[in-house]
Symmetry: C2
DNA sequence: CGGAATCTTGAGCGGCTTCAAAACCTGTGG
DNA sequence: CCACAGGTTTTGAAGCCGCTCAAGATTCCG
């Protein structure tokens, strides 16, 4: 079957420690859905009735302030999970809105199905808890950075995280499709400051930045700690 | 038995939906420990080998920046839980440091014991996930506030949260034992700004603030949304 | 080629922080 | 009972980091 072949190379922390057979069963309960660029996948405030596993493409998970500004809570890459509230008996609202940034694919489980699976495979619940705790740590880090680091350091941190998420293939030089606007939203700075900083680094040869295209040449130069 | 009597009036989201009998079993696996003011209960970075349930007293959960400033991640009240990483097979490090702010009591489970219990009572694991997701939402809220609201609005939010945590008995006028320093650390502002704002509110009769003593007279006046 | 999105650059400014110094509270021990 | 020491709070003045705003340049794509 096609799905078996495609799952062979696929990894997600949600499925850590689950054997091939069980995976088949778990996948069979999911719907595979294609999403197109700019599509809203879930909306903040709606009940988390689905669990999503991103398989292809990028998704931004964000909230909008009363003033109308977007704050990106998370830049999602293949293997990432969202909608974990769906594992609870009474799913709480989604914390943010998920928007596809490119065409992509997601696996989708309903609350009912994922809860059945979690009962059958306790590892699933454990993985979910692990992922949420990881998210929690990420928030704490970001928060500490926001009140104690400079705009420059925060943007540098974001770049390193993005590179890391891409699964640092041999040493930088991966092209990321991301705008200054989006970078600034991840670093909690203004797009203008982001532009100035990226240019500074570009002049030093640390990065290349062109319209929605970022390449990190010398990640080491961005390490601040 | 003393413990039965004392548990009767006790509630924590960690134990939601668990019947009296099972509670007895769960409690019997815990150690009851007294903590004294200023005692460090867990330290950031150590493996989360224990699950804690606060029964009496207050605890601050915080991190320290490289510059040496403390950032309070959370103000813990009776019923609150920390060290949820202990539920995982390989406990991750504690995200912050927990320090008792007064004499108090905690229940403590070891990883081994709490995992046995979670296997026996799936509700425990579900509650844990629910709590962590709640924490996640709190972080998102705080983060959005930090980048989009004024210092004044953030401090007002903190005051309302503290009041809410105290289980808003009929309408304000509860005395909270908290310093300006601690308030400012929760609101992500400087102690000087906190002092100025609290004085302003005091002049209007909204709050009373004396050395480490806060009373909120008119919570409504603090609502910003 | 036209138009929309993205990025750049400069100048001005503003909300908080920082720093210093003093006043104030509160528990303690002589 | 008083005085002292520690922690807490106040107040003012100065400064700065990064935001805001405006205008234009650039890139991409249909």
């Amino acid at each position: 079957m096609v799905s078996v072949a495609s799952t062979a190379t696929f990894s997600s922390h949600l499925l850590d420690g689950i054997c091939q057979e069980d995976l088949g069963n778990i996948f069979s309960m999911a719907e595979n859905r294609n999403v197109s660029s700019k599509e809203i996948i879930v909306r903040r405030g709606d009940a988390a009735e689905n669990l999503f596993l991103l398989r292809r493409g990028n998704v931004r998970y964000y909230r909008t302030t009363k003033k109308g500004d977007d704050i990106m809570l998370r830049w999602l890459v293949p293997g990432d999970t969202f909608g974990l509230g769906s594992l609870l008996r009474e799913p709480p609202p989604y914390i943010g809105t998920a928007e596809a940034l490119s065409d992509g694919e997601v696996m989708v489980w309903t609350t009912t199905n994922i809860r059945k699976l979690a009962a059958q495979y306790p590892q699933l619940g454990e993985n979910a808890l692990k992922i949420v705790l990881q998210y929690l740590k990420n928030y704490a880090d970001r928060h500490v950075g926001l009140v104690s680091k400079s705009a420059e350091d925060r943007l540098a941190d974001v770049l390193l995280i993005l590179e890391h998420q891409r699964g640092h293939l041999d040493h930088g030089n991966i092209e990321l499709k991301i705008t200054n606007q989006q970078l600034s939203s991840l670093a909690d700075i203004s797009p203008f400051t982001a532009s100035r900083l990226l240019n500074k680094w570009q002049r030093k040869g640390t990065v290349s930045k062109r319209r929605a295209k970022l390449v990190i040449h010398v990640p080491e130069a961005l390490v601040t700690d």
